[in-house]
Subunit: 313 residues, 2 copies
């Protein structure tokens, strides 16, 4: 067996050099299967295989009213206010429940299969404990889906920042000339990030409030990833986890994005298997990040099993 290691240190900044490297080194990178260990399992004794990751797109919205801020005593009542326009515009993006109202947003979303919903339903999720840990009295989301489905298998459109006008202490009688909003979407197969950006821009243009000009700046985007968990490369991973942990692994999707996974999948056209061993509470990217020694041992055993059984793939 030949093993090729691909080690890169730019994942946290979106791996800008990896995709061109893959594209120009097809031969060097040829393989039967691609294994990435960057996902989590459910708990110390409950492994899981991640078969889907959400994609991403990101944009900024700018609303311009008058050419400068105006005094509300002199102008209030007769001129557009950039913040009135911005809140009107942004509130058109969702219904009260949290469903996205951008025309066509859900058109390309692959519906969850009955089998997937069954698998995801096996994952432990206690909504009451979840709410309590977050300080919430209520959950808000797309009707008809569970919390796990909403956070991993359904797309979202989130306002990440909104600002305009006066933010200091007390009050100021200003009519703001401009307002800004930052938006990111989490996307699922088969949504295309560029198509979604087009749909959002079209929605914003169609809903442009009276008296103001709306412009958009685009930022990052990444495609979603999904694998068929029936394929031999993943079924062998099931056996490997079963061997190392002595329990049946779950299938799960993750709500975040690992853009290179989709790039490997698309450019190398080989099975991508996500075999992770970290626990959800190991302080990723935070002080005291740690990794369980027990999962280090079981992970080694699972991977050795996997490598030695790969001939079946």
């Amino acid at each position: 067996m030949n093993v090729k290691f691909c080690i890169e240190g730019e994942e946290e900044i979106g791996s800008p050099h990896l995709e061109p490297f893959i594209a120009t080194h097809h031969d060097l990178l040829q393989a039967d299967v691609l294994l990435i260990s960057d996902t989590t399992i459910i708990g110390p004794n409950q492994p899981a295989i991640c078969y889907g990751l959400r994609g991403l797109c990101s944009l900024e919205v700018h609303v311009q009213a008058a050419k400068s801020d105006l005094h509300s005593g002199l102008f209030g009542g007769a001129v557009p206010n950039a913040l009135h326009a911005m809140t009107e515009l942004l509130s058109s993006l969702h219904d009260h429940e949290g469903k996205v109202l951008v025309e066509g947003f859900y058109d390309d979303v692959a519906a969850l299969t009955a089998e997937e919903r069954e698998e995801l339903a096996k994952l432990p999720q206690d909504d009451m404990a979840y709410m309590q840990s977050l300080g919430l009295n209520e959950l808000v989301g797309e009707p008809g889906y569970t919390t796990i489905e909403r956070t991993t298998a359904r797309p979202t459109l989130e306002l990440n920042g909104v600002y305009g006008g006066f933010q200091g202490e007390g009050s100021k009688t200003v009519i703001p000339a401009e307002a800004h909003a930052k938006i990111t979407c989490r996307l699922v197969n088969n949504q295309d990030p560029l198509k979604i950006l087009n749909l959002i821009e079209a929605h914003l243009k169609a809903h442009e409030p009276k008296g103001v000009t709306v412009t958009v700046t685009r930022h990052d985007h990444a495609k979603p990833f999904i694998a068929d968990f029936h394929q031999p490369a993943i079924q062998t991973a099931v056996e490997a986890y079963r061997f190392a942990y002595d329990v049946e692994p779950h299938f799960m999707r993750m709500g975040g994005s690992i853009p290179i996974v989709e790039a490997f999948d698309r450019l190398l056209k080989l099975p991508v298997v996500l075999m992770g061993f970290s626990l959800p509470d190991e302080n990723f990217h935070a002080p005291n990040e740690h990794f369980s020694l027990d999962n280090f041992d079981k992970g080694l055993r699972a991977l050795v099993f996997y490598y030695t059984h790969l001939e079946r793939v």
Copy 2:
């Protein structure tokens, strides 16, 4: 004739000590008429008498969702977003044209009389030039009113500041836990600032979005002022302007607030006459503030005429 001068230096910070002083010195301040020169005229050769000022009330709105910001990859789709809630809440305050939708907001507004509308229609106002000077393609405001009526004789509710979430460069996949908005209203007779604050709070509570908590902090408030321009004290001012400028003065209302005017009116119960002589483009509160020497002379003549004809009041 006896003249009492009242000179105070706190007007720009809301005159916090003047109202208690008036309240405790009724006898000292007794008079037949109160004259204040703090308003503008229309142009170098067109005097005007201001007979109405707008009042004010001010508040801050806070929306709290989860107890801290959350990662949109892990939680996006299932939890409330403070900015979604804030934009939904704020967009409920106006219709698309700019009419205020707070229940009861207009209930106590004294309608403009036919005579007032006639007087206000005499004031020079070129909407095209006005838009051009502000860099606007369109004016926005309460339907059925002219620009001058909207900015001086109708109440408003303005968003002065809105903020929450990420404001730095680029994007950040955060679900904000909190959002804030600053609001001021310009009020007209017979709206009561405290009643309006109650109505706004009731509206915000009634429209509280799912999954979040809305709280309110109150700031300043000041009552609106209006005088009947038929009364002798004001008709004598008409004669005084006519004498000094040799043209008929207009009647106007001002969109801003001079809170002490209303306090003098309410506490001393004597006619308040606003005889100003400054021009609108004299850079109030700004570098190179100035005052026309011509209006200084004409103002002196108008005031001398006024004092010497006061026996008719």
